[in-house]
């Protein structure tokens, strides 16, 4: 079971700030988790191609295998400044 945290337009699309994802891919790479998320939550799918992902205060690469005990944070295109 993996907690997925959402920001910005992703919160709007999902109607929530976080989701739980079970039946995780093995190994749980970022890319595989995003694929699964797109299947389970079609409303998020159009946005996932442009997200960056983080755990804690660090970015994680698409090919990286993540620690599923920590939340995966999805960061859509940014508009700060």
């Amino acid at each position: 079971m993996l907690t997925v945290e959402l920001f910005g337009v992703l919160q709007q699309a999902a109607g929530d700030r976080q989701l739980q994802l079970d039946a995780l891919p093995e190994p749980p790479t970022v890319a595989a988790v995003l694929d699964q998320l797109a299947r389970r939550h079609p409303a998020l799918a159009p946005h996932l191609r442009r997200v960056a992902c983080a755990q804690g205060d660090s970015l994680v690469r698409q090919d990286q295998t993540i620690d599923t005990s920590r939340p995966l944070v999805l960061l859509p295109p940014v508009s700060g400044g």
């Binding site: 709007q12 960056a52 983080a54 970015l59 960061l75 859509p76 295109p77 700060g80």
Partner: protein, 150 residues
């Protein structure tokens, strides 16, 4: 001042925090909430952030600016929460011995912030509608490498 804050940004405090008698040049950039976006009247807006990363990104960007340019001081603060028209969402303060360097450093800092800081702007329009502004994909190590190899 904490780099990410819900409080109104205090330029006077940033100027005091960066005082440096060796610096002949000061450049301040302020991002201000405008009353329009993409042809629509804006009545207010709200910034949300991924806090744990945002604070670190700004601290690293200050250091990177100090390393890349001959500048002596660099401070960046960004506001979150609800902002009114005319309020500052971001302040960049750079001090350097010479003015060209201060301009270059401040411009680099704000240009880079725009692609690295995990912050999202939510506009509220005068017609009652609202929308997250379409942003730019967050710069990642992979996208930076791809850009550098072009």
């Amino acid at each position: 001042m904490s780099r990410m804050t819900e409080q109104p940004l205090d330029m006077g405090q940033l100027l005091r925090e960066t005082e440096n008698d060796a610096c002949g040049a000061l450049v301040v950039f302020g991002g201000i909430v405008r009353n329009h976006h993409a042809g629509k009247g804006v009545s207010g807006m709200s910034y949300s952030a991924y806090g744990p990363m945002a604070e670190k990104v700004l601290a690293e960007l200050e250091q990177e600016t100090l390393q890349k340019f001959p500048v002596s001081e660099c401070r960046i603060v960004h506001r979150t929460g609800d902002l009114a028209i005319g309020e500052a969402s971001v302040l960049v303060v750079v001090r350097a011995p010479h003015r060209g360097d201060a301009f270059d450093g401040a411009r680099y800092a704000i240009d880079t912030l725009k692609v690295r800081l995990p912050v999202w702007k939510h506009d509220f329009y005068e017609d009652g509608s609202d929308a997250y502004q379409d942003g730019v994909p967050l710069e990642t190590a992979a996208s930076r490498d791809a850009e550098n190899s072009q």
